[in-house]
Structures are given as structure tokens and as C-alpha cells.
Subunit: 350 residues, 3 copies
């Protein structure tokens, strides 16, 4: 399957990457993640070029990753730096691919394309994760479905009324005002609920919320599969800052064409130090994602078999599919541009 | 795989189809079964045409089946009757296939072919299930094998002496008189045992059976895979009605080409109100089918891999294979005639 | 996949083959093993030619194997000798392949090629299993990997220092002197450790071993996948017979192209009657093979997917790969010669 490659993907929570090597499949490639003495994270293709043992079964000797099978050692750039055998010469082919990594917002980000183009300024902005006015919770789901089905799920929140009873407002789906638009390669799907009842979930963080408020649930997609979610409610006619803000981010990273790493963070600007509330929210949100979203998205994929593109199966399209359809089109164009550019480079080089 | 389509298949016990939608795969198609307010059973293709969520995860709103994902509602004929989104227009493509159903003898029957040809008079006759002179027990097996292997098993009861010690008579396989013949598309495999010992199983229902009797085990196959079994024993030379009659029916419905829904009923004309006997018979029969027939048929399929037609693998044929071989030939001809007719229709229409 | 066929493979421990038929897959073929009244082991293709029921589900009637499904009986040479049905004629095609077997050293050996060429003198010599000066332990592993990966593992013991901490000497991998050579179709990979520390494992059997000794770990491969291992340590400069000898044999038999039957025996020439030691050694060796070798070899295979030949994936080759590379080349040549000879035979016959 084709993926957008010259972009950053969230691949791990920072705390997952330690001195103990960890294997994780990203974009169909098995990668070993670990952390060297300086604290920098490292990522290598997880296969020793000698006998194909996974390097993740080995251990760090200083900053070098030692293969458990025959002891070859690799530095963090993938070069073999020690062959303990025979005349100890290191064959030229004894190297593995290394991947540019950055660490930000508590996530490790991997650049899946040409290393020389890895630009940290292209990491998506998730300001609330750096902002002391917010506290946040994190979660992870392994989803057995193509990542674009998860994007569809998030870009069409009209499903909330049917799939997530806990999140619905009394007024029902009809009372939302929706706005769909694009800005450059970003796609927006906004749902506005002026002067409507405040959800039970919102009241968990905002105990003295008014009975009615101006609600918003504004989703923004940027390529390849980053969704930032401006969710909140404030008093009717009141400024946003006076109300509850619970911004979220959903980071979807293909593990394979049929499975997805789903990282999410959700913040709040109230009761920052209420640990009990934090725990209750983590449980509530996790339950919704694991028990409601994940099964339906996986059921979609099962209906699709090994097909990864739902559009190839001619689904009936409705009004709320507009944003996801746009996002798919943008992503397809970017992938095509990337492979066209790669073809040009190859052609010039030859 | 090709199936006979313009025919009725047993797909569920009546009590399985309720207001709670149930998914079941029939002839490679996922189908949702449910019951509307009038009590009528309904069956739709179990995939919402919008995002491919299984409709069986949804619920009934009145008589309409609501998709759990985005709330589209479908009537029992498969037409979308509510789109809660956007301008609420219902796209023309928003419909799913519905399947003609009939309910008889405690089974729900599905017509797998052209709806306009669904004729309830073609449902197989199973008179003993409607006859107050009999009481009966029902069972179900999920068999991981092509349905024709189960037909073979039932049309060649010479296996009973080897696979089912409980059913055998002292005299052994040699003492049976067998008759194989056809009438139209029906195939008969009769086994007669005049003046022979009565089995332990028969004695459970007929306590004061004579030591010897005239036994019969007459199997009748009709397409596609309906087996009615006239099993009984009576006094030597006595009329059938004076003895024990335990007629049975075996209804085999392909789930996929490699898996089978196996519904069975077995009746008796004695001790009709003996519930304890009913329970003991259910356990005894179920054990035989589950522990003896099912493993051997599944082992056959495993030896055959993904091949569905054992004849393609050139088995050695013996005398008792004659009825099953005839049945396979008849079914193959009917399937071929059906697809030839379909081709003609298509050709006329173009 | 192509295997060397005109050769003996170890297929079972003698005690595994009894009057109760046992199914085991060897070189992609399901085979039923059993023992007739004379005590001789027998092996037939495990599929009744009638309806493909596994003969291993049947039972012995005297020396004949009776199919559980319809009662056909087969003698140990695979001929159907009883058809209980119809006119009882035995169809000419009613026979299954039988396999030449020999029993030696506590193993049952199967000749996988042309029966008329089965020559018991070609069974590998494993003298220590017949020698009263030794006692030995046996083990078995089911390995989910192509058998040649296990051969590679055994022909390159440089992995010991990295994968098996329990077996390593203080001096490390560098202090070994290695000798790689061939004699005819046998490949040798010897590791010599003159005047070096004695391992903890060796001390289990040789309590009053000197602190330093002359160690040896000499592996010998013969086709197709028989590895005899001359492992031992003696006093510095002392004759081998005065020290500890723990010869071993590793017999690798393909189950399928991706799975392997791994039989091993390891003997010792000291403390022959110490049953507690025997048990502790069995546990220690088994743990090393099961917890250290098996996972890494299976991980290699997983990295290779369904590819069975690691050379096709262009691994980096190091000095200690020389013996395994030679062995692979010899085996490939023998398989090619065998299929060329078979083609000639076919050609002459036509």
C-alpha cells in the first residue's frame, strides 16, 4: 500500500521508548525503538542483516544495539560497528535503515520518508499539550482497520448521536449547525450547538455549568491523519475562555494497511489538579473509544475484506461524508505527488 | 462457489429470530435476521450501504432497522426510509437486498434466488413436525466442511457400524438389505433389517419392544440438501404403525463453501410426554452428531484443503457411494440448468 | 518444496509408536504410524482412499488398520484387504502408500524415497547411543521454521556466546580456535578451546574437573540434516578419554517447509547412574533449546515470511557462516542430482 512518507507520524508515547529495545511495526516495517545514553530516542529497521534476527531481541552495549544471535553491534544510525567474528572485518552491506525521530508533546515522531528532508518544524502543532492552563490524559488503541476508516469516523461526528449515547445532547442530531470547509490541505468539520443543553460529560469537569450553553465540536484534519479537535462549551453568548475547553488530538499511524496505531490526548482547562476526575475521564473516554468506535470501525474493515479503500467499493455518500471525502482526495493527491517526485528524482539520477 | 439458488434453505430455528437483530452467514452472504411487530421474520443483507457497518449491530425503531453508525433506517424490504442528515434526501442507491422468508415446522426458510419465484409450496414437507402423534427434538451443529460431505455422510449409512457403536445391531453391516433408487430428483438409500435385534437406542423409547423386529432406516435426499429419514422398527411381520417410528429430518445449509449450518429434528411416536426421555435422547443424539460425525466430516474437509468437491480428488468409490454420487450429479445438473437459464435471461434482456 | 528423498529421516521416538495409530506430518505428508503384532513399526499415508478419512482415527484389527468411517482394512504395505460393502470386491485403486521404516538407537527412521532403495546401512551412525559407557537423555522440539535454519543454528556455534549465557566460557568468543572443513558430503565446524576455563554445565557431570582444561565443540553435518556433536573437555594436554565426553546428535526432520521436527540426544560418560543429574541436565538443556534457540529461529522464519531459503533474501555472510553455507550447497546439489536421476528414469520408462 502507498503511504505519505515525507511526513511525521506519532509512533510511541515518550515513556514507551527506553533502554530496553521495543519492536513496533510502522507503515508495514518492523522497527526497533530504544533510547541511547544521551536520552535521544533511536529507531532502526528491526532485522539484523546477517541472519534476520530481530534486533529488538538484543540489548544495548553502551549506545550500540547488539544482536542477540551472533553479537553484531549497530550504532543508532544503523551502521554495523562491531563484528566479533573471523578477521572482524565489517561487510559493507552490514547496515540497517535508521529513521529520523523527534520527541515532542510526550510523543515520539518518526519521519517515514527521505531522511535529509526530515524537518522538525513540520511536526503538527498541539499547543494545549504544552500549555500549563491545561491538563490532559492520553490513550492508545490498536485498531484492526485501515487508518482512513478511523479518519472517516472522526471527520463525521454525526455518528455520535447513534454510537455514543453518553455524548449526545437532548436536542439530537438535527439541532447541530454544521460547517464543512477547507483551508489549503486542512479540512474542517465543525458542529455548533448554540443555546443547547450541556452534556453529562461536560458537567464532570464543569460542575457549575449553566443549564444551557453554546457548544462546539470542531474537527480539523491535516495530512496524513492528524485530527485536532476543538471541543468545548461556554455560557450562551459568553466568550470561549469563560467556559469549558476540552481540546483533543487524535494521531493515527498505519501499522499495516489493515491495522492502525491510534494515539489520543484530551485536555481540559478546569479542575486541573483533580486526579480523581482525570482518572474517571480516562476510563470514560477509553470505554467509548474501545467499546463503541473500535468495534464498528473494525466491523467496517471486516466487511471490506482486504480492500483498504472504501471508495473502491462504492459506498452511498451522504452530506456528512463531505469532509472525509475531501480529506481522502487531498491525501491521495499528496501521495501521488510524492511518488511522481520520486520518479522524477530516479529519472534524473539515471 | 455455485449454489442452487431458486430453492428454500432452513436458516434458523424460529425461536432464534427475535426483535434483536441476529447476523448469520448463508451461502457466503452475511444476512441480518429479525422480527417485525406483526411477528413476521425479516432478512436483509447485513451491510449498511453507507459505510458498511453491519446492520445487525443496530436496533429496531418500530419496524425499521436503524444502523448503529449514522442512523439510517431500512424497512423490511431493504429500502432506506430515513436519512437523518443534511437535507434528508434518500439516495437512490441507499437500499440493501432483502430475502424472501417463510416460517414452517419451527424453522425459518430463506429463498436464495429470484424473489419473484419464491413459492412457499416448494418448502420441503416434514409432516411429522406438524403431527400431534409425534413429539420431536431439535438440534444444530456448525460443521467446518462443505455441505455435500454431510450429505454424503447421511446418504451412506454403512458408516453407522463403524463410527456409531451405539446405533449398531448385533448382526453387523452384512445383515442389512440395501436398496438404492431415484424418483425424479429424489434419491433413496434404504436399509432394511427384517427379523433382527432391536438397538439399545430404540429400546429407550419402546421399553417393551420384542427382542427381534423388522427394522428400517430409509434415507431420502431431495435437492439441494434436505434429507428425510424414515427410521423405525416394528414387530416381525407387523405393520409399521404398531412399532416405533422415529422419523428425522436433516437440513444442511451452506454457510460458506467450507462451512455448514446443520439443523436436525428427530421425532418419536411413543412416550410423547416423557420429558426425561426427550432430554436423554437429545443428549444421546447430539453426542453422536457432535463427537462422531462432525469430527470425521471436518477431517475429510481438512484432507481436501480448500477443494469443495471430493469427486475432483478421485476418491475410490464403493457400492454404498451410489446414492450420494447420484445426488451430487442431480444437484450439479440443477445448478447448471439454473445458471444456463440465468444466462438466457440476461441475454434476452440485453 | 523439494526435499532429499532417498535418505532416512528420524520421525519418532520408538516409544511413541504403539498399537494406537498416531498421525504425524513428515515432508508435507500426513502419515499414520503404528506397530503390528510382531512389534514391527508401520507407516501408511494417513488418508483412506475412499472418503479421505484419516486412517489414524481408526484402529488395528489384528495387523490390519481399519478405517473408522466405513470399515475398509489395510495391511501394513498399504493394500486394502477388506471391503465390507456390496459384493466386497476390492477396487484396484484402494491402496495407500506405505513407507519403509527402520528402528535404531531408540528412533524410528523413515525412508522418504523409492522403497526399493531403502538401505538400513545408510542410517546415520550414532555409536554413543548404543555404547554402555554412556548414558543419554532425549528431547524433542516442534520448531516453526524451515529445518535449514536449525541446521544453520547448529553449524554456527558462535551464537553460543550471545544466545546461551549458560554455555559460555569466561574467555569469550575470541578465545576459540575454529576449523571449518569438508570430507566428501560431510561438513565440519570445530571449535577448540585449549587451556581454558571449564563451563558450569560441564561441572554438573564432572564435579572434580580441573579449573582449566582443553575443551572441544566439534559439529559434523551430514545430509540431509543430521548433526553429530563431539562435545567435551579434558585436562590440559590429557587424552580425551580421561575427561568428560558429552556427545550429542541433533536430527532435524521437515514436517512442512516451514515447520520442523527436532529430535536431540545428549550423552555423558560420567555419573552414569545419577538419575537426579540426568533429570537436571534434561531440564537445563531443554530450557536452552526451547527458550533460547527455538524463539530466535522462529523469529528468523517470521522475518522471512513464507520464504524457505534465507540465501534468496541475500543475508550478509560472515566467517562462521562458511560451514552452513557449504552444507546448504551440498544439500542443494544432492536434491538436484536426485531430481535429475528421477527425470532420467521417467524418460527411459516412456
Amino acid at each position: 500500500m502507498s503511504y505519505l512518507r515525507n511526513t511525521w507520524y506519532a509512533v510511541a508515547h515518550s515513556h514507551e521508548v527506553t533502554e530496553t529495545p521495543m519492536r513496533r511495526v510502522i507503515l508495514d516495517e518492523a522497527i526497533v525503538f530504544y533510547r541511547v545514553g544521551s536520552g535521544a530516542p533511536a529507531a532502526l529497521f528491526d532485522r539484523c542483516p546477517h541472519r534476520f534476527a530481530p534486533l529488538s531481541k538484543g540489548k544495548l552495549i553502551g549506545d550500540e544495539l547488539q544482536c542477540i544471535y551472533h553479537g553484531l553491534q549497530f550504532d543508532r544510525w544503523g551502521a554495523c560497528v562491531l563484528n566479533p567474528h573471523g578477521n572482524k572485518a565489517i561487510p559493507q552491506a552490514a547496515r540497517v535503515r535508521s529513521y529520523p525521530l523527534e520527541e515532542r508533546y510526550g510523543y515520539v515522531w518518526l519521519w517515514a520518508g527521505e531522511a535529509e528532508r526530515a524537518d522538525p518544524t513540520l511536526i503538527p502543532k498541539i499547543d494545549f499539550l504544552d500549555d500549563p492552563k491545561f491538563t490532559s490524559i492520553q490513550g492508545y488503541l490498536a485498531v484492526d482497520a485501515n487508518y482512513q476508516l478511523v479518519v472517516d469516523n472522526l471527520l463525521d461526528l454525526s455518528h455520535v448521536e447513534y454510537l455514543h449515547p453518553m455524548f449526545t445532547r437532548k436536542e439530537g442530531v438535527d439541532s447541530h449547525k454544521t460547517e464543512f470547509f477547507s483551508e489549503g490541505d486542512a479540512v474542517f468539520a465543525n458542529r455548533l450547538k448554540p443555546n443547547s443543553s450541556v452534556t453529562a460529560l461536560a458537567r464532570m469537569s464543569w460542575a457549575d455549568a449553566p443549564e444551557k450553553g453554546d457548544g462546539r465540536a470542531n474537527m480539523r484534519w491535516t495530512p496524513p491523519s492528524v485530527l485536532t479537535f476543538d471541543l468545548g462549551v461556554t455560557g450562551v453568548g459568553a466568550p470561549i475562555e469563560e467556559g469549558l475547553c476540552t481540546p483533543a488530538v487524535h494521531l493515527l499511524t498505519p501499522e499495516t494497511s489493515l491495522t492502525t496505531h491510534y494515539f489520543w490526548s484530551q485536555a481540559r482547562n478546569m479542575k486541573l489538579d483533580d486526579r480523581d476526575l482525570t482518572e474517571r475521564l480516562r476510563i470514560a473516554l477509553n470505554r467509548v473509544f474501545v467499546e463503541e468506535d473500535k468495534p464498528i470501525v473494525e466491523a467496517q474493515q471486516q466487511e471490506m475484506g482486504n480492500e483498504t479503500d472504501i471508495m473502491a467499493l462504492h459506498p452511498v455518500l451522504l452530506n456528512p461524508d463531505i469532509p472525509a471525502t475531501r480529506a481522502r482526495r487531498i491525501l491521495a493527491r499528496l501521495i501521488e505527488e510524492e511518488s511522481a517526485a520520486a520518479a522524477r528524482t530516479t529519472s534524473l539520477a539515471s
